[in-house]
Structure formats: C-alpha cells, structure tokens
C-alpha cells in the first residue's frame, strides 16, 4: 500500500509551521482533484479517531502496537492536531498527524481487530474505570466512516498506468506536441518520457488532469503541430491505435462553449494571457491560429518575433488563463506589454488604434468564477511548473476572481505563478506526505 511507504529523504515537514500563529492552510475542500475531496466535508473538528499511542512503554510483548482514542482539535490541509482522550485541558502531548496516514482509524477499528485500547502512560492512573469515561466521551460524538481507509486508497488510484502513450507539450518547443510514454505515477502526477528524446533527457512531469496532455491522435484531429514517428501518425490517421495508446476517456475534455452567433476567435486578435514560459507574468498576446474543437494558438507579444512559430502556445478557448484586453488594468495587475512598449505607458486603446488591431470579444472568455474558497495567506503545496518534477511549499499571495497567485516561500516574486483556482498543480498541506512525493521546503537564505 502506498501509505505504508518508507519515509522520503530530505522531504520538508510542515510540523514546525503548523502551530505558528496565523498559519492557515487551504482546506482540502478547495482542491477538487485532491484525494478524498468528496468526503472531506465530513472530517470535522471534535471528531474522535483511534490512533497509535506513542505515550507508552516502548515494548510490550502482548501489545506491540498500542492505540488510544484522540480528538481532532484543528485541521490544516490533510493534517490534524490531535489530543488523546483523558488529557482534558492539558495540551502537553498534543500532536499533528496526517489524517490519511495508516495509523489513523475510525473509532471501533481496534475492537474489530481484537486490539484493546491502552491509555497513554501520562494519564493511565487518572481513572479507575476507563469504560465509564470512554462511554461518556464517545457517545454521540462523530468518527470517520468505517471504510475511510478504502476511500483513501481508491482516491489515490490514477486513471492511467505506466507504459501508456499520450501526446504531451514538447517542453523544449512549446508550440508542438510529442508522443511520450508514462514511466511513473506519483499521486496522479505522471512522469513521462518523450519518444526519440536525447538519452539524458529526464522527461516531463504533470498531473493527469493537466491541459498539457492529450490522447493519442489529438494533434492530428485538432490541427496541432506534432513531432512523431511516421508509424505513429499512420496509426492515428487510420484509427488503429495500440492498446497502450491513451484514448479520449482518460482525459479531461474542456467544456464546450456555445458562443453567440458571428462572434469567434480570429487570427490577429489581441488578448491578455498568462505567459506559459513565465507564469508570474500576464502579457499582451495575439491569436496566431484557430485550431479545431475550440483550441487556439497564441503568441506572447513581449518576446522577439520568432518566424518559426516556436513560441506559440495552445490554450483552449475556455481556458481560465486567457483574458480580455483590459483585464489586468481592471484588477491592478501589472501587464507585460508588447516588445518595445514601456509598461508604464502602455495603453490598450492607443495601441489598438495606432496599429489598427482588434481584440478578442469579451463574450468569448470564460468568466465563470466558482466559489473556490481560496483566500490570501493560505498555505499549500504547489508544483513548480518551470521544473515540474518539484512540488514546493507555497502561499496564496493574490486572489483575482478565479485566478490565484502562488508565491513559493522564501523565493523572489519573479518565481510566483498565476494559476487557476481549479489547477491540478496545487495541493493541500500534507498531500506530498500522503502520496509519497518529496516536498521542497522554503528557500533558506
């Protein structure tokens, strides 16, 4: 079982920060893609659980592992502050534990395995009759569902399996796709290796819900550029995919948007977009090509013009990372202007008039703002999308509608990332520990 894995060397542990005043973790209910998101509403403060009793003699032949009941005092992501029953107001032995770890169980779990509950040494003489005490403390209290452990295990299972092929954005040339093979899966994050890559290429990491991956045959179908072997293209065109080729049902399909008649994305239209190569920046961009099924190729206008089109990037028209002209101004976000323009002087109206340009109509953007629950100051774990094998500790530093700015603790603002509130690249505190991913701590200067 994944949750029985060995400890990860040099992984960061939140424990020293969890009790700091003002520490707020984004709740698991903010992360739709996170394990056991669906039942997290039922995990509450005051709930009773059975946990390992670490306040006992180190070795007992009759009971090699000892358990006792504890109350959840505080919740931070997947972590909970627990107090053993019987300690009353005494918080000296309180401890933080990941609620999804394999030593936390619903009340009743020990009895079904024939294990007696053993009171911690500190309080073992406090009551003569533990039965009366436990009946009083437990009756009417809440506990975890008896299938909690199964629920966690089920929620950790990826839709994908190692060995599957899929189409992935080429990390060295973001305007094209490449065929890649899944080498490893950690917490539904896929480690893929490109076919025909250099021997020392370490491949690419992304979450299975990432918009950077697509089923085999997708590029050919929507008209996106792909670098692939001829035999691969032949099987895409003929529809005779291999059994290892990932098909449509493995992927998140972007929602279909019904646009008003006669309004459409057209080549040359201007908009604002998160720079895929520098996620701390929102830039003036141009629609370079309209693909099928609602996909568009955009170019970030602040870069030198590249005639080869190597700097184009594919966004779906429903992407929450593209915005109408004026979005940054309205929300007091610095906008990176086209190359050659002074950021302090750039003005959309003048720019459009002087260059005889038009913007993408407002009606074409996804303006839905879900009730996501993120607020400034919340702590989380986030993939560093410039080196996506890394997952780091971060803080929500701005919230603009559905857009979040994630700051990596200890790093300069230039490393921040603008992300959508439903991005599969952010995770609750304790996620790395739960899935067996190394967590990078704050940079210490």
């Amino acid at each position: 079982l994944k949750r029985n894995r060995a400890e990860i060397p040099n992984t960061y542990e939140w424990k020293n920060q969890l009790s700091e005043p003002g520490f707020i973790a984004a709740p698991v209910s903010c992360f739709k893609h996170a394990p056991i998101y669906e039942c997290w509403d039922n995990i509450t403060v005051g709930m009773k659980v059975e946990v390992e009793n670490t306040d006992c003699d180190n070795f007992s032949e009759s009971f090699p592992d000892s358990f006792w009941v504890a109350t959840v005092l505080k919740i931070a992501g997947y972590k909970a502050l627990l107090r053993y029953e019987g300690f009353g107001q005494n918080g000296s032995k309180d401890f933080w534990l990941n609620l999804c770890c394999n030593t936390v169980h619903p009340v009743g779990w020990c009895a079904t395995r024939g294990k007696p509950l053993i009171p911690p040494k500190t309080i073992q003489d406090k009551y003569k009759d533990w039965k009366e005490f436990l009946v009083k403390r437990l009756t009417g209290a809440r506990t975890l569902p008896s299938n909690f452990s199964t629920k966690i295990e089920d929620s950790l299972i990826s839709r994908f399996r190692c060995g599957m092929n899929l189409e992935v954005v080429d990390k060295n040339r973001i305007s094209r796709m490449k065929v890649a093979r899944i080498e490893k899966i950690v917490g539904k994050r896929l480690h893929v290796k490109y076919y025909q890559a250099e021997q020392d290429d370490n491949g690419f990491w992304c979450h299975e819900d990432s918009p950077l991956i697509h089923p085999c045959g997708w590029s050919e179908r929507v008209g996106h550029c792909i670098s692939a072997h001829r035999s691969y293209m032949e099987r895409c065109i003929s529809g005779n995919l291999h059994e290892d080729d990932a098909t449509e049902e493995y992927f998140i399909t972007p929602r279909t948007i019904h646009y008003p008649p006669d309004i459409e994305f057209r080549e040359g239209m201007k908009l604002e977009a998160v720079d895929p190569l520098n996620l701390s920046s929102i830039c003036v961009a141009t629609v370079m090509k309209v693909l099928k099924e609602g996909y568009i190729m955009i170019r970030i206008d602040s870069y030198d013009a590249d005639e080869s089109g190597a700097d184009w990037f594919c966004y779906h028209s429903s992407s929450p990372c593209i915005f109408p002209a004026g979005f940054c101004d309205t929300n007091s976000i610095p906008l990176t202007p086209p190359k050659g323009y002074d950021p302090s002087e750039f003005d959309w109206e003048t720019y459009l008039r002087e260059n005889n340009l038009e913007t993408v109509p407002l009606a074409l953007f996804n303006r839905e703002v879900p009730a996501h629950g993120f607020v400034v100051g919340m702590r989380l774990e986030a993939a560093d999308l410039m080196d996506p094998r890394l997952v780091c500790v971060g803080t929500v530093s701005r919230v603009v509608g559905r857009l979040l700015k994630v700051h990596f603790d200890g790093w300069e603002e230039e490393y921040d990332q603008w992300l959508d509130c439903e991005s599969p690249d952010v995770y609750p505190v304790g996620w790395c520990e739960l899935v067996g991913q190394k967590l990078e701590g704050p940079r210490v200067t």
């Binding site: 039922n42 009895a111 007696p116 039965k131 009946v135 009756t139 809440r142 506990t143 008896s146």
Partner: protein, 33 residues
C-alpha cells in the same frame, strides 16, 4: 442543512479495553456504502 445532516448516520461502535468490551453510539458520515 437537511442535506448536510443526512450525511451523518448513527451507528453502534464496539470498544475493547483491557477491562472488557462494550459498545457506544456514535455518528459516522454516511459513506459506508
């Protein structure tokens, strides 16, 4: 809310201590399907 309260179900939970076994009535979220 009513929907929320429906998520919780009363259940008899068995407890075993060194002194013996007994049961208590607790609430668990109704996801024991």
């Amino acid at each position: 809310s009513e929907t929320k309260s429906r998520k919780w179900e009363q259940k008899q939970v068995q407890i075993k201590t060194l002194e013996g076994e007994f049961s208590v009535t607790m609430w668990a979220s109704g996801t024991d399907d």
